[in-house]
Structures are given as structure tokens and as C-alpha cells.
């Protein structure tokens, strides 16, 4: 590839930049003249051709460093904030890391990483850089335990869906996401903000939800994404009443009908849709008809994304998938035909496919396989339930039974708990096989959500 063909992030920022900002809870950075400013203390040229670990304690400097490094570094590995430090050595070895961009340079002294560059704000003036190469973007999977896998992407693959959608119509959007931008779902929003114009408001894990929403409002956020768990938490908080985004998107977990309907009721003027995407499979498709699941005719080749269902799981082949797992003992990311097995189990009912759960999340109930998500979707359909989690519990009689924890909708009279429990159980018995009906339903105040925004499933 000749250098002229390289199109890096900075090359998307040449056009009209005035009035655009990227901000977090503490700082607002103007994108005007961003290309003649540096968050890396002017040391970008030292990182040319290097395999760079991006290990920063905040998203703002991370995003600014991504803009600088793309097209200059050979590869960059994005570290999400919840990365277990015990896994760093393995990841550094697997990705061949030879430089780190950090805000804690003291921690890296004497670690053997040959080049340590400190990222800091405010930005300093510098001469604009020219893109030199197509940088490989390395992202970590958000799996449960063990060392996360490293999925290799190109900017072209990461932005395939954004380019296909074209620029946003109407006034320049102000983007936000509940995700961290070092996760696939959050990075998609960050890249949209860079490519399709507008500004971006970053999340902060230490900020209370009400304060976060107040900040989103103050900055005029119009377009926002998160997992169904993020959105359920927002609906439960009561803070949704002060917020009126025009564009609401869900991804990263199954968007059931209850959460879609809940968002439509909370944001009647908004476009509410869910998207299917993962670190490995890239952006698959968007569903904007307000219904859970997706139309069966999405299978086959559609807009350059090929999908099929094999052994119940969704398989995806497209130019937007990651191209490989990176590392010495890395498994193959695709099958021989180039399809990524998403591990997401779908079921055809009528002319629509519905997500029923993760292959790895199956719980064993007396020898029968059960997807907890399928049970939760039925429980969540009760109008007085906001969120639920089904899990297995050992039983001396059958080996295992299903039990469920549920959070009642804000303002529900606790005295009605027994009546609601009976209604939920009736609903479950009408719609689920008997071994999937929870033996016990407990009402709880909160359910754990992982830093990646997904319902915590410690038993799966």
C-alpha cells in the first residue's frame, strides 16, 4: 500500500472542526486545531512503527491519543479500565508491546517496556503529523474469567458500518455512550463522533447516574448508546425524565421487548433501536422497527454482511469483523470459510429470529440446558418488573433448579409483592417449559452489572 492510500483518524478530521468538542466530567477539549495539538507531549514521532499499549486512567486522553496514534503506531492495544493488572504481562507479550502511553509513568519504570510516553492535558501545540501506515487496532474481549483475548481490527473494519450509514442528517449530533470507548460498543460511538461530525460526551465510572444525565443534558447530547442493563438502570433511576435524546441505541446484550417498550415510553420522540455487534464479529446489523429479535430475511448477504445460523448460533462474515486473535497461542477467530461464530444462540419463531442466550451461559437444570436470558425476558414482560436475573441453584432432588431475582419498577407498592410474584409465575408457566419456570423468585433492590455494562452472571 502506498502512503497516499492511508486514511487514518486524523484524515477524517480535516474538514469543518469548529464548534466540535470532546469532553468528560472534568475537561472539554475543542476539536478546532486538534491536528496541531498533542496529548503525547509532542513525542508522537517516537511511537512511529511501535506496538503501543494505551493504558490510561481516563477516556478523554485515551481518545485523544487514539487520534494521534492511528496512522503512526504499528498497532495499539486499548486497555479498558477494568482490565485485571495480573493479565498485563501476558497481553504485553502476546501483542509484542514495545511502548506504553500512560498517565502513571512511575509505574512503568523498570518494567522492561522500552518506551514510556506520558499523556497529559492540557494539549500542547505541535506540528501536524502525516499518516504513515494503517495501524492495527487491538481490542480486548469482555469475557468473564481468565486472560481476555486480543482481537485485531483495522480502522476500515471498525468504521465499515459508520461509512455505510453515511453522515448523520440534520444538525450535527452530540454523541454519548454509557460504554467506555475502549470497549467495542463505546469505540463505535467515538468513531461516529470523529467520522460523521458533531461532538462527544464521555462517561465517567465515578459519577452518579443523576449527575451523568445532568451533564449529558447540559452538553446537549442527542445520540446515545448503551447496553440494556445500562438503560434499565437509567429507567429505574428516575433521571430519564430530565433527558430527551433523539436517538437511543442498545447493544451488547439481548434487547428484550420490555426494555425497548420502556425506552419508547420514556423517550416518546426518540428513535429507539438495537444493534448487534461484538468485538470479534464487528457490527452485524441494526433493528429499528421497535421489536426484539430481527427479521429472518436478515440472514444471507445484506449490505456486505453475511449471516447464517449453524447449530443454533449466529455466524457472521463481513469486512467488519476482527481479522484475527493476536497472541502466541491464539485460537482461530473464524472458521475455514471466514465466518465468526458469535456464540449467540438464536431461535426462529414465525418470520423472526430471537436471541435466547449465550452458548457459554447455559445453566444445567436437572440435565436439561437452559438459557437464563430466555427466562429473564419472560419475567421482564411483567409491567411491574424492571430487570431480572435467572440462575441455577443446586437441589437435592433434581440436581438443579431455576431461581430468579427481580427488581420491581420504581414506585411499586411492596405490599403487592406476593400478587406480582404469582402473576410472574403464571406468565412463566404459560410461556416456558416447566423446568425453566423459576422455583423461587426474590425481589431485590439491585443487580450487579459488570464494568462492561452487562448483567453479572457469576454462576454461568
Amino acid at each position: 500500500m502506498s502512503p497516499r492510500e492511508i486514511f487514518a483518524l486524523r484524515d477524517h478530521l480535516g474538514a469543518e472542526l469548529k464548534g466540535r468538542t470532546i469532553s468528560d466530567a472534568h475537561d472539554v477539549v475543542s476539536l478546532t486545531d486538534i491536528l496541531s495539538h498533542t496529548v503525547l507531549g509532542g513525542r508522537l514521532s517516537e511511537l512511529s512503527g511501535r506496538a503501543v499499549l494505551l493504558k490510561l486512567s481516563d477516556q478523554l486522553r485515551s481518545g485523544l491519543a487514539m487520534i494521534e496514534l492511528d496512522g503512526i503506531a504499528r498497532r495499539m492495544l486499548l486497555c479498558p479500565p477494568d482490565l485485571n493488572p495480573a493479565h498485563l504481562d501476558t497481553l504485553i507479550a502476546d501483542a509484542g508491546i514495545d511502548a506504553v502511553v500512560t498517565d502513571e509513568p512511575d509505574r512503568w519504570a523498570g518494567t522492561g517496556v522500552p518506551l514510556v510516553v506520558t499523556a497529559h492535558l492540557p494539549l500542547q501545540a505541535t506540528a501536524p503529523a502525516t499518516s504513515e501506515r494503517a495501524t492495527e487496532w487491538l481490542m480486548l474481549t469482555s469475557g468473564t474469567s481468565g486472560v481476555p483475548k486480543i482481537a485485531g481490527h483495522t480502522l476500515e473494519a471498525l468504521t465499515g458500518a459508520i461509512v455505510a450509514e453515511g453522515p448523520a442528517r440534520g444538525p450535527a449530533p452530540v454523541w454519548a455512550t454509557f460504554y467506555d470507548i475502549r470497549r467495542y460498543g463505546g469505540l463505535q460511538i467515538f468513531l461516529r463522533a470523529i467520522l460523521s461530525g458533531g461532538s462527544m460526551v464521555l462517561s465517567d465510572p465515578h459519577e452518579a447516574l443523576g449527575d451523568h444525565i445532568a451533564r449529558l443534558n447540559a452538553r446537549g447530547v442527542s445520540h446515545i448508546s448503551g447496553t440494556p442493563s445500562h438503560w434499565r438502570k437509567l429507567l429505574m433511576s428516575g433521571a430519564a425524565a430530565q433527558f430527551a435524546p433523539a436517538y437511543v441505541r442498545l447493544s451488547g446484550e439481548i434487547a428484550d421487548q420490555a426494555v425497548l417498550d420502556g425506552l419508547k415510553a420514556a423517550f416518546p420522540d426518540a428513535s429507539v433501536g438495537h444493534a448487534y455487534a461484538s468485538t470479534e464479529a464487528g457490527v452485524g446489523f441494526a433493528v429499528n422497527d421497535g421489536l426484539e429479535g430481527f427479521p429472518a430475511d436478515y440472514l444471507g448477504n445484506r449490505n456486505g454482511v453475511e449471516m447464517k445460523v449453524v447449530d443454533g448460533s449466529l455466524r457472521i462474515r463481513s469486512a467488519r469483523t476482527a481479522h484475527a486473535y493476536v497472541g502466541r497461542d491464539a485460537a482461530a477467530l473464524t472458521d475455514a470459510d471466514g465466518f465468526v461464530d458469535s456464540g449467540d444462540i438464536v431461535e426462529l419463531r414465525g418470520d423472526r429470529y430471537y436471541f435466547v442466550g449465550r452458548r457459554g451461559g447455559i445453566i444445567n437444570i436437572g440435565g436439561l440446558k437452559v438459557h437464563p436470558e430466555e427466562i429473564e425476558a419472560v419475567i421482564n414482560r411483567h409491567p411491574d418488573v424492571r430487570m431480572s436475573r435467572a440462575k441455577s441453584r443446586r437441589s437435592p432432588i433434581t440436581g438443579g433448579i431455576v431461581v430468579a431475582d427481580a427488581i420491581l419498577t420504581e414506585g411499586t407498592d411492596a405490599a403487592r409483592a406476593k400478587e406480582i410474584r404469582d402473576q410472574i409465575l403464571d406468565q412463566c408457566r404459560a410461556q416456558l417449559a416447566s423446568h425453566k419456570v423459576p422455583a423461587v423468585i426474590r425481589f431485590v433492590e439491585a443487580l450487579d452489572v459488570t464494568p462492561a455494562g452487562k448483567l453479572a452472571r457469576t454462576d454461568a
Partner: protein
């Protein structure tokens, strides 16, 4: 509420939920004759564990599962709380 009445009430509640036509409950009634299947018993044991904090069938590995309603109730009554 006595342990006995808690157990009997839970049996009746699950019978209603599972649409099991429960015969009159007496101590001599064999559990088989209650019409409960293993899933219904699993639900019963789980709910009683939540209510009483006791699962007498897991506590003692070698305990045989009771044969009659009376044995079942006594399994809960005989565990020191």
C-alpha cells in the same frame, strides 16, 4: 407459624401453581400419592429452605428421602434451628 403449618402451606401453594389435585394431607399419605413430581418437590425444598433456612436433605448426605408426608414434615421439625 409452626414448622408443620409452614410445610403444609407450601405444599398447598405449589399444588395450586402446578395444578396438582392434592388428596387430603395426612401423615400416612405417601409422598408419591400427593401427585407431586420431582420438580414440584425440588421447588418445595427450595422454598422451604428460603423460609426456614433449612434444607434437611442436603445437610445429611445419607438421609433417605422421606416416604410419607409425616416423615417429610418431621425432617424439618427435627433439624435444630
Amino acid at each position: 407459624m409452626s414448622v408443620r403449618s409452614k410445610v403444609i402451606e407450601a405444599i398447598q401453594q405449589i399444588a395450586r401453581e402446578q395444578h396438582v389435585a392434592l388428596p387430603a394431607l395426612s401423615d400416612d399419605l405417601s409422598l408419591h400419592e400427593t401427585g407431586f413430581d420431582s420438580l414440584a418437590f425440588a421447588i418445595l425444598v427450595a422454598r422451604l429452605e428460603d423460609e426456614t433456612g433449612i434444607d434437611p436433605f442436603t445437610i445429611s448426605e445419607d438421609a433417605a428421602f422421606p416416604a410419607t408426608v409425616g416423615d417429610f414434615v418431621r425432617a424439618y421439625e427435627n433439624v435444630p434451628a
